[in-house]
Symmetry: C2
Subunit: 100 residues, 2 copies
């Protein structure tokens, strides 16, 4: 990915309601990948969940936030799946990596 | 946390070598918490691991990267624990949250 780009850090704690959560997660990743400006997404969960998605611009993040199917998922997240969450929108200024 | 602040996103894939990995992780979190400018840290792992630490400034991130005990941990990470990793240093520009 070419610097600078944006990261959206989504940190969440789940409720005990499962009800199509994983199915919706998979669907949202597929949908996000089709959005203009989408770069990548990565997720991990045990006690808490952290999903980081990477985007070309603030405009592409805004478009994705307002996508109709994504709005539906966000609403279900609030009413059913999440106890709490924090979303942070960040400008990635620097990166380095290691590969064995 | 008061905006703006910085996030360090550390995304990794582990090797199969365990050798004090969890012990070192706990020790590094305790040590990071004592650093000037440290704000918070959160972690999750299943297929991949994502650890995000939050800092007041780029200077505090630099100091932490150069901490001697942390340098020792970084070296062991490269020689033993990680198959690969990416570190991204980000300016948090915006945040919002939900609490049930």
């Amino acid at each position: 990915m070419n610097l600078p780009y944006y990261a959206v850090i989504f940190t969440s704690t789940r409720t005990e309601v499962d009800d199509d959560y994983n199915e919706m997660g998979t669907k949202m990743v597929e949908l996000a990948k089709k959005q203009e400006g989408f770069l990548a997404v990565e997720s991990a969960r045990n006690d808490i969940g952290i999903t980081v998605s990477y985007w070309q611009s603030l405009e592409s993040i805004k478009q994705w936030k307002q996508n109709l199917d994504h709005l539906d998922a966000q609403q279900k997240g609030i009413s059913k799946w999440y106890e709490n969450y924090i979303v942070r929108i960040c400008l990635v200024e620097k990166e380095y990596s290691f590969q064995k």
